[in-house]
Symmetry: C2
Subunit: 246 residues, 2 copies
């Protein structure tokens, strides 16, 4: 499994992903699931991936080859004029890779090579945008009503995001919120694991404002993880008391 | 879907279940998922169910018929000498019902009639006990390390249970904790719905200490639901601040 979250704020975009991949609990590895490209001053694009690793790596490799070989006939994400077109490119590629594997595999009961992706970024003179790409290649865009996307093991960390998110929050608070959401997931599910990758993209900057790999030794994450349990218990005990009225 | 939680405390047992069943989002009904039997002064048994409604109703009906017809040859849960034997009876019945439906259905790709159950209770001169029954008919028992069980849509409400549970807590605090856990689930998932059923079983009492149906109009649940969002945000903002160190 995997856990990745991308959110849109007034100030820009904040992304976080874990790095655990597993095929059963006895075959665990660390793989990066966040990838980014930028043309300084013009565009920044970041992609996070969940699902079958062979599928997501094939998609990313093909995207990277395209950015390296501009003579290639099919469009490159560094040349597409809008984020919408970039999401379309990634969606088509994802669907093609999944369908290719499916055809090559066994009919019907074969293994499933499914995957989903979050695409985030901004191109000069346009708004920062955030998309969730489905295995079928189609996608949805974050909006005022749904300002963040999660992929992978999304449920444990969702309640705090729903409650804590605020469009106007600072980047620092957004990072803190993501750390709490990831910590809740980590505490409940073995298939999500440290280290985490973090990227903060400020509006109209076109390069990462802040980028970090958060390891198990990261002092801030350790502090959040230990203080959140305490803060949650205090919050709980601050609630009004239940009374047996019968 | 469904959400049910059973927990063991020093003081006894606390159980809560939702009542939503759905077959698609356009076919929603309310069905009780908590059932209980008691022999005052001697035993109390409570069962919560998740999964295919036809399956769980068949199991409960058969259990009830047995309690009504003592001439019946197979053992009744009101006569079994231990909670362990009661869990065994429920497990066998559950497996038999699921296998019967499976055989009657299509081979291979047919619908799945799976279900799981939480069995809780106490018999005189023995400890209160809590079991999780799997569709295969086998079961596990709650222990010091795992003092509560969840069935159904378990993930959203798990982080607060993991953080807030304390073996020595009062019944009132346990009910409050369950309400927060159910509220978090409700906020994130349409397949879990009000009203909830609540039962508190005090050690060595053999009848419910407190039993209640919590509706959407329940003033305490409404208060918890509105104050928890605020308490969670305060807890979040009480955490140390993140600083971009590069």
């Amino acid at each position: 499994m995997t856990y990745c979250v991308g959110m849109v704020l007034d100030k820009g975009l904040v992304l976080m992903s874990d790095t655990r991949t597993n095929s059963g609990v006895d075959n665990i590895s660390t793989f990066r699931k966040m990838f980014s490209w930028s043309v300084p001053g013009e565009r920044i694009i970041s992609i996070m991936t969940a699902g079958n690793l062979a599928t997501t790596q094939a998609v990313i490799s093909q995207l990277e080859e395209r950015t390296k070989a501009p003579v290639e006939r099919r469009p490159s994400i560094l040349e597409a004029p809008t984020m919408f077109q970039i999401a379309t490119i990634v969606g088509h590629l994802l669907r093609d890779v999944i369908e290719g594997r499916q055809d090559a595999g066994m009919q019907g009961e074969g293994p499933r090579f499914t995957a989903s992706m979050i695409v985030a970024g901004q191109i000069k003179d346009m708004e920062p945008r955030l998309f969730l790409i489905y295995p079928e290649g189609n996608f949805i865009e974050a909006s005022f009503d749904t300002p963040f996307f999660q992929i992978g093991e999304t449920k444990y960390g969702r309640p705090i995001l729903v409650r804590g998110y605020d469009k106007g929050m600072s980047f620092e608070d957004a990072v803190k919120l993501l750390m709490v959401s990831f910590d809740s997931t980590l505490a409940a599910n073995l298939s999500v694991g440290l280290p985490f990758d973090l990227m903060v993209i400020e509006r109209d900057k076109f390069e990462p404002l802040h980028q970090k790999r958060i390891t198990a030794e990261d002092p801030f994450f350790k502090l959040i993880s230990s203080s959140w349990g305490e803060a949650l218990r205090s919050a709980f005990y601050s609630l009004p008391d239940y009374a047996f009225d019968d």
